[in-house]
């Protein structure tokens, strides 16, 4: 009898549609009833699709090399059906280059935010769990890193890292700039979790430190981390492009939005070739807006006070 009931329950859980699941979670239902957040998700999905499409169906080499010998008369063309976003100094198709830029933004954004989230979660959780010495060493180091205006810290790091590292140089610098932000948020969240009785209970029944940390503390700090990662994803894409714009990103010719903007502003703006920098910037701004809309929606959905206000 009891065995049957258990399978029944399981079966109903299985058959619950995605829609029901969303409705039963206050966080997801809040998030999905927020039209702006949905718009943000839509932008991100489209950009991801563009990124994957360009990565697997377009040739980067063809986009990087100069097209001047192939079509010498086609440089600085304004947008037209054949070239929807126009062409640049080397007669390259800006439309295709902008599409490919989505791949670079998503790839390096993910690497930057992914690694700094991982480091931030590890350091923040350790600092909260092992108070005193470990906490002090970790958090004071984070305080020092947070005492620099972020773009200047990134620039200082770029100055000491080898130029040959290209875009990785900027990525590594930004990881160091972003990690402390995550560590601080995670430590705060973990300290709150540590006050809960179930942690005490887990320790009392003899769970070892790694188990408590990985199985019990980290999962309960995931919500604030996800919000933080989403909001910082937008910032990371802007900062990576900013470093490229200032000349410390990928090698010239690489189809990254920052690089295209830099060249377009430098060589095309005052001559009236507005499309050269306009379209890469538009895509960059749209992507960042997508992450900000989603991040904002997630933050509102997580904040219980906001939920009361909605009820």
């Amino acid at each position: 009898m009891s065995g049957e009931t258990a399978t029944d329950v399981e079966a109903t859980t299985e058959s619950r549609s995605l829609f029901d699941r969303i409705r039963s979670s206050p966080f997801l239902s809040d998030l999905f009833s927020n039209r702006l957040a949905i718009f943000g998700i839509a932008i991100i999905v489209v950009m991801l699709a563009i990124a994957l499409y360009s990565r697997f169906f377009m040739s980067e080499a063809a986009l990087t090399s100069s097209k001047l010998s192939a079509r010498p008369t086609k440089r600085f063309l304004s947008p037209r059906p054949a070239f929807p976003f126009g062409t640049d100094l080397q007669a390259r198709d800006i439309f295709k280059r902008v599409l490919y830029g989505a791949w670079y933004a998503m790839k390096f954004g993910t690497i930057t935010v992914g690694i700094s989230t991982f480091l931030g979660v590890s350091l923040g959780t350790l600092a909260a769990y092992y108070s005193d010495l470990v906490d002090n060493v970790i958090m004071r180091t984070m305080d020092v890193l947070l005492s620099f205006p972020s773009l200047l810290l990134a620039l200082a790091l770029v100055a000491v890292l080898p130029e040959e590292w290209g875009l990785w140089r900027a990525t590594l610098a930004l990881i160091l700039v972003y990690t402390p932000r995550f560590a601080r948020v995670v430590r705060g969240a973990a300290l709150k979790v540590l006050e809960d009785e179930y942690i005490e209970a887990t320790i009392a029944i003899g769970a070892k430190d790694p188990r408590v940390l990985i199985r019990h503390i980290t999962p309960n700090t995931l919500a604030p981390i996800t919000v933080q990662s989403t909001l910082n994803f937008g910032l990371a894409i802007i900062d990576l492009a900013a470093l490229s714009f200032l000349g410390f990103g990928a090698e010239p010719g690489t189809p990254t939005w920052g690089m295209m903007l830099s060249q377009g502003v430098d060589k095309g703006l005052l001559s009236g070739f507005w499309w050269w920098s306009f379209f890469p910037g538009l895509f960059l701004a749209l992507t960042v807006l997508g992450f900000n809309l989603l991040g904002d929606g997630m933050r509102d959905a997580l904040d219980p006070r906001m939920r009361e206000a909605v009820d």
Binding site: V160, G234, G247, V265, L269, L270, S277, A285, L289, L293
Partner: protein, 337 residues
Amino acid sequence: MVSGRFVLKRVLLLVPVLLGVATFVFAMLHLSPGDPARLIAGRRAPESFVQQVRVELGLDRPMYVQYFDFLTDVAQLEFGKSYQVQQGEAVKDILINRFPVTLELAILGQIAGILFGIPLGIISAVKQDSWTDHLTRVGALTGISVPIFWSGPLLIMLFGVYLNWFPTFGRIGTQYDVPWVTNMVILDTAMYLELDAFISAVKHMLLPTLTIGIYSMALISRMMRSSLVEVIRQDYMRTARAKGQGSRITIMKHGLRNAFIPVITVIGIQFGTLLGGAILTETVFTINGIGTLVVEAINSSDYPVVQGTVLLFALLFTLVNLGVDITYSYLDPRIEQ
């Protein structure tokens, strides 16, 4: 009231942080791949010059001696001398010359942000969930999503190239020769009552100010809105309205005073972001401030200049944060506990 003890405690806490900052900057030079002497002398400098720099700066001495020397120098704001950008000149002097340029830009942007951001935030909060509110919120979110190195060029394109209303680079027309006292164009031209030069300076600074201002306005209006929305929900607001006070007076008298506290914090904390914004704006509008200096220094691998700038900004940033903390505790005495 702010107690003297609180301020003293906060000031004393600065010492370890600043020591940490200096140590980090020192470590950055010595732990990075490559030879510090080469980094300082410049990537393309001949070996004999690198050797000369090594001896001159004592980079061949034991690490701890170098470290204490470095700390002593930094404590006196001595950041060494430039090897490339302005050869032989003390980094301190270069910074004194260039910093006001960036500061002026950041201040103008901040003023623009406050002037527009605060009213927008208030309107948005008071008319919560109306169309005005939605429009302002989306506008503000767009404002923080648009990179400065895109909005700046767009403004140049529209108002500089097509409409030709404003100049697209520099801080003032080249024909004006005003004695530079503060090295802030608008202040200097105003002080000497040079009307033509003043107008030229204002025209030059308008687009850069707008570029930073849009970003700052977006941040401030977002904070103003969320802070006021929070305050409007408080019990004392309901009480004030319940005793018959008009809602406009309630918001002005009770709402704003309380809502301003977090906004002031944001205005302070934003200072670091704003400096970053100023760096990018300078490159877009070819203004010779700290931003263009750092970029030039990195490109010609003039490490002492980069190092000095970073140290100066970390110091300023920390001091501004201290100021914000003290202001905050003045406005809300509960903070001290």
